[in-house]
């Protein structure tokens, strides 16, 4: 009797243990599987981030290394530098000139590629081609277009009697030129992301809408755009992060690479480079890097909230229509 009870108790314990293991397996395994990313991120993302914060509160020379602890002095100094604010302005301006048209254009191109075109793959590969070109090469090609005196665009403008645009002198033209390079490179990439998302939309929706008498434009606005919501949010956030960190194009825009004599097109990343490697002041460069990080976080959150609200409202409209 007692033996039987013993056996029962043992097997019960075993079953309980197996249950527990199973539960742990279910509960913790997913975390284990994704942990390589986070371990890698901690090493190459989080550590540099925190180390930069550590550097930013010290006097720190590129060669001389760590100096005295100075607290928030570096932050106070860079915030009082006019070039910091100029480069913040430029960063936003170039970001807006590049990201906004880029997202709109990419969505339009993707919508066309989503139709039944002849030689589909050719067109789809075609839009990605500029992405393969290295940014420095893009800058070299475009510098031929945007030369102040002997550039192609100014020669054409001169041909029809318009004054030459001073691409490397005036603020807005220089931003437009840089944004053009960025867009040239990234529009195709964004297009393909949109295209992939559009192809995941069930065709039934379109058929139903067309039977109901909706035209192409109407189906685009009322079906495609609302259903792309998560992808739009993703693209806008990634292009914000990328757009606020533009470096190669403005750096290659002229021979000095500092963003112009009056910092007409100096972005925050260029400013970091100037402080860190030009003046060799790593403390201040790190302070700017952290400020840029904070700016990006704030903008990303803003973006998220705004795009959610906009996309959300259209979705609600569809739902209410559906209920009716």
């Amino acid at each position: 009797m007692t033996a039987a009870i013993d056996v029962d108790a043992r097997s019960l314990r075993r079953i309980a243990r197996n249950h527990r293991l199973n539960r742990w397996d279910v509960r913790f395994s997913p975390y284990l599987y994704i942990s390589p990313f986070f371990i890698l991120f901690a090493l190459v993302g989080l550590f540099p981030l925190l180390y930069t914060a550590w550097v930013s509160v010290h006097d720190w020379n590129l060669i001389g290394g760590q100096g005295d602890f100075v607290g928030i002095d570096n932050y106070v100094t860079v915030l009082s530098q006019p070039y910091f604010w100029t480069s913040l302005r430029n960063t936003f301006s170039i970001f807006l000139f590049s990201s906004v048209p880029q997202v709109l254009l990419a969505m339009g191109i993707a919508a066309f590629l989503d139709y039944n075109l002849r030689a589909k793959t050719l067109w789809r590969m075609g839009v990605l081609l500029p992405y393969v070109v290295a940014p420095v090469a893009v800058a070299l090609i475009f510098s031929n277009l945007f030369g102040d005196r002997f550039g192609l665009i100014n020669e054409l403008l001169g041909g029809i009697g318009i004054d030459a645009i001073r691409w490397h002198v005036d603020v807005i033209p220089s931003h437009l030129a840089i944004a053009t390079m960025v867009n040239f490179r990234w529009t195709g990439y964004t297009t393909l992301i949109f295209l992939a998302a559009m192809q995941a939309i069930p065709r039934d929706y379109y058929e139903a809408a067309i039977i109901d008498g909706a035209n192409r434009l109407r189906t685009f606005w009322s079906i495609t755009v609302p259903l792309l919501r998560p992808v739009i949010i993703f693209v806008i956030i990634t292009s914000t992060i990328g757009g606020l960190q533009i470096f190669d194009e403005p750096r290659m825009f002229d021979q000095a690479g500092q963003g112009g004599a009056n910092r007409q097109w100096q972005t925050l990343t260029l400013y970091i480079y100037e402080l860190g490697w030009g003046q060799r002041n790593f403390g201040r460069a790190s302070a700017v890097a952290w400020l840029l990080f904070l700016v990006i976080i704030v903008i990303a959150i803003l973006n998220f909230v705004i795009t959610r609200r906009i996309a959300g409202s259209t979705e609600r409209r569809i739902r209410t229509k559906g209920k009716r």
């Binding site: 510098s143 005196r149 009056n262 490697w277």
Partner: protein, 425 residues
Amino acid sequence: MKRFPRTKMAAVVAGAASIALITTGCSAGTDSGSSAGGDVTLTVATFNEFGYDDLFAKYEEANPNVTIKHKKAATSNEARDNLTTRLAAGSGLSDVEAIEVDWLPELLQYSNQFIDLASADVDGRWLDWKEKAATDADGRLIGYGTDIGPEAVCYRSDLFEAAGLPTDRAEVADMLGTSWDSYYAAGEKFASAGTNVPWFDSAGATWQGVVNQLENAYEENDGTVIATENPEVREAYDDVLDASSTLSAHLSQWSDDWTASFQNDGFATMLCPGWMLGVISGNADGVAGWDIADTFPGGGGNWGGSYLTVPTQSKHQEEAQKLAAWLTAPEQQLSAFASKGTFPSQIDALASDELLGATNEFFNNAPTGEILANRAAAVSVTPFKGAKYFAINDAMQQAITRVEDGLMSADESWAQFETDVKSLG
């Protein structure tokens, strides 16, 4: 064809292997002992073209115990980044590191990272000012001079002719005179002939010529920054901008427009250090009429040039110093000049027939060797370049560009220059 019997073959292989073992054993032993005479591998880092490729082979032949590994960076900037990064890391530098005079001052603050190369063998080998520039405050010589950039004036004789000015290089030298005023006056004469071609390429490039003639332009010898209070600097700034308003092509040097203007009659003269001759003949390919005058406004001037240093990180400092001394000896520098046109900084090389006889076909067969040697001899001022020289001069160049581009008046731009210099602090 006769074939080795198997046994003999094996013996040969075994023998060769044992010899190899012995030699590697030897080299390992001497490496750690670092005594002279053992086998060493020396790495040499240079950039652009130093013209050393043949010389390395020659040195290895004369010193069988030395193997040289050459690391060549494409540009001086790349070499600078590489050097600073490894200096900061504390390891990874080559045994011999080439450095350019532009970033020599910022390295002089860390002169204890380089060994003192002064020795009786090389005493008086270089032009005084070349050697002085690489000597730190304690009198240690951290670099052996390689080449220099003595400046002359290059001009377009065809445009001069069109404006009714003399074209022969001796007469042109007389007309340009030896002061900045006479150089600008010649420009006004050229402009008044109505050719509609600017006199010089860029106010920034002209500034480079002017500022290299000021002894303490931006900093006192103790490193105190005086750039914004120095009346000499302000005066020179106003002079250059004054002249530039009527005479400059308002191009910024090295920009795409500047390069393109060589093919478009962009300007009639430019200040040209020796190494610039190659740049001009490259950019102005197919344009006839370039010539070079044996004069320079305001006395002599030097722009650019390099040094060889031995970092204290090197494990073979003695051997490295020997190699650097050999490479920078007059005979070797002349051979580098012959192969790549790097103009020697060694007194003996400057007097050699080989150098003085050199001519340049593109510049109307001008005796460029002789002219540049004269220009090197005319350099009398060693501008003091401290730790902040590079950054301050950069800010100054931007101040000048702002006025050239019409973004600001000279006074506004100067005010911003003052802020910029202050923020370097």
